[in-house]
Amino acid sequence: MSTTTELRKDTGTPDSAEETLLELCSMHVFYGAIEALKGIDLTVRKGEIVALLGGNGAGKTTTLRTISGMLQPRQGEVRYRGERIDGIKSHELVQFGIGHVPEGRRVFAAMTVRDNLEMGAYRFSSVDPADMDRVFTLFPRLAERRSQLAGTLSGGEQQMLAIGRALMGEPELLLLDEPSMGLAPLIVQQIFEIIEEINKQGTTVLLVEQNATQALGLANRGYVLETGSVAMSGPAAELLSDPRIREAYLGEGAA
């Protein structure tokens, strides 16, 4: 708990009094003998967008996978609304309202867009048409292509579908793993706008990104990972103006 207060201190934002939704306490994760995460502390509060940044191999995806139950921490805790959730399998976490958009989109290629979305509502006994409408309003492109096979969609549309599918499970916390991966800047822009919209509608978002500028432009707060530990954290605007960040992630060091 002490870590939380510490983090709250360093963020210093006025909404720091809000409810903590997700909390990682000195989390260590190993791949065999390799220590991928060396004690990560991270907090996500209700209603926030938190960006998790870092270069390749920094441990961003590992962190997200550990939260979503695909990996287990060897030490430390993952807490969700104050309850420990590490060790709970990914499919059960969905029941807690944690939606996960995995890295690389992973849509069901041979299913139609509509079937994919229905699959997203698997945790409910029946599909809520309101959810479907909401997804189609957020992503009009998907509405146009609802009977098309997901495998024939473009990369951006597949990303939209992957996000839409996760929304069908009515998540309280949405984990997004590199939604901008391999997409054109214009599409990335669109997707980020939609993420903002999803957040405004009340879903808390934890966003893993390589694209630091865009992600920090969107997020309330950010964490920067370096070789398995948190190198920096704070309000997005501060990080964005931090010279070290600009140097390391925005490619302005040489200039």
Binding site: Y31, R65, S68, M70, L71, K89, S90, H91, E92, V94, Q95, H100, V101, P102, G104, R106, V107, F108, A109, A110, M111, E118, M119, G120, Y122, R123, S125, L149, G151, T152, R165, A166, G169
Partner: protein, 460 residues
């Protein structure tokens, strides 16, 4: 300077060379070479038998005899028909259909749509089919009745079960016939025909639920440790499972009766509420019994396919990680597919054993596991009518060939048919829509034709 010049001169022609595909390497002719190779192989296998005096006897006689030309003619004929006549034939058929529909005054291709929309029509068609299935066999010769019951119907039950495992959940099981053996030995045990005494001797009808339960448990026991594996690895482990069951049946003399197996296994009989009946060696009564179970299993399984369970299986088949991310308990559903698939083998095992009256380990060779897989793939993975048709054709073919060709060559013809089928119709005789889509996506380069594999970068 000169080196740069030559490279500049060379590049366009080299590129042109790479761009051009020789005619014999185009897809159409690649298929022709495959078909010629198949024809040659067919001629060699089905041709003259060799002898010890002249080691080249078989080859020379095959290559000079008429059989070679018959085989080559058949395979190349199929190729020519498929490559050059397919479009005109399809055009003619659709034109004929169009004119027929115009004559009837209805829109083109409305039969299928009407069939899908009208529930009563569908039920009526099913009823007619069922009546045909019940009535037609009584007009068949006795030997064909036996084939129908002992092989087609039994294997149909098995294939429907395997279809759940491979067609729906996408788990490649090469040892499926082992569950049939489990069902068969359960029957021998519970009717008191094994060296070990059962606690109570059961009527065959009561053995069915017990055998189904045993197969479910075996499915879970096999599945629990192995389902972390996928694709090829799972296939090899299931192969091993078949061998284990086979070898245990053969070597555990004190329990399974060893190579002698079990004999004098009683027939099905009813003695209930004044009705007394014993199924005997006659095939027809067993046919009705099997049809009952097949229809029951089909109804149950097709309901399952369209339920949440079926959707979970589809999701797992397509992408396990995405399925888990959407809240599907992948381990549980894979186990369930294994167990449910195995359960039909239990039923089949009991009926087969009762009908035959004896079993020994040689009834359950590995070949049978492979054959059932072939039936499922030939008919169309994931589609129940496809699987039934596939079983019927592939079981019927060797029997029908019996009178025409050397019996030892029969499976070569079966193999040739499978090869041709995989070249020209990989989705099977009556494919499921999903399998068709998968193959189509794979052809367009945006999917994975492999029914059982995972996209790259699987779960850690």
């Amino acid at each position: 300077m000169s080196t740069v010049d030559t490279s500049q001169n060379l590049t366009p022609s080299a590129a042109a060379k790479l761009r051009r595909t020789a005619w014999y390497r185009t897809e159409r002719y690649t298929r022709l070479w495959a078909m010629i190779a198949l024809g040659l192989l067919l001629a060699l296998v089905t041709g003259e038998q060799g002898n010890t005096r002249d080691i080249f006897y078989s080859i020379t006689h095959t290559l000079t005899g008429v059989n070679l030309w018959v085989c080559l003619g058949a395979t190349v004929g199929v190729w020519a028909l498929r490559e050059f006549a397919a479009t005109p034939i399809k055009g003619a058929v659709s034109a004929a259909r169009g004119s027929a529909a115009a004559a009837a005054g209805g829109p083109v291709g409305s039969l299928r749509a009407r069939f899908q929309a009208d529930k009563r029509l569908r039920l009526g068609a099913y009823a007619v089919l069922l009546v045909l299935v019940l009535v037609v066999p009584s007009g068949l010769e006795r030997s064909w009745q036996t084939v129908l019951v002992d092989q087609i119907a039994i294997f149909a039950l098995l294939a429907i079960g395997l279809n759940v495992v491979i067609g729906w959940a996408g788990l490649l099981d090469l040892g499926f016939f082992a569950f049939f053996a489990v069902g068969a030995y359960s029957t021998a045990f519970w009717t008191g025909r094994l060296p070990v005494e059962p606690p109570v001797v059961l009527n065959n009808f009561w053995v069915i639920p017990v055998a189904v339960l045993t197969c479910l448990v075996c499915g879970v026991l096999l599945g629990a440790p192995t389902l972390r594996l996928r694709g090829d690895y799972l296939a090899i482990v299931t192969l091993g499972f078949h061998e284990i069951i086979y070898l245990v049946a053969k070597n555990a003399d004190g329990i399974t009766g060893g190579p002698q197996g079990a004999r004098l296994i009683p027939d099905f009989s009813i003695d209930f509420a004044g009705i007394e009946y014993t199924w005997s060696i006659k095939p027809l009564p067993y046919w009705y019994l099997l049809v009952f179970f097949i229809v029951l299993v089909i109804i149950l399984f097709s309901r399952l396919e369209h339920s949440r369970v079926g959707r979970a299986w589809t999701a797992i088949r397509e992408d396990e990680i995405a399925a888990a991310a959407n809240g599907v308990n992948t381990v549980q559903f894979k186990l369930m597919a294994f167990a449910i698939g195995a359960s039909t083998s239990g039923v089949a095992g009991v009926i087969f054993t009762s009908k035959y009256g004896y079993i020994n380990p040689e009834v359950f060779p590995l070949l049978q596991s492979i054959l059932i897989l072939a039936y499922v793939i030939f008919g169309g993975m994931g589609s129940i009518p496809g699987v039934l048709i596939g079983t019927a054709i592939l079981v019927w073919l060797p029997e029908a060939l019996k009178d025409w060709v050397d019996p030892s060559d029969r499976y070569m013809y079966l193999g040739a048919l499978l090869v041709v089928m995989m070249i020209y119709r990989p989705q099977g005789v009556w494919p499921s829509r999903r399998r068709q889509r998968e193959l189509k996506l794979a052809e367009e380069g945006s999917g994975d034709a492999d029914a059982t594999s995972e996209p790259a970068g699987g779960k850690n």
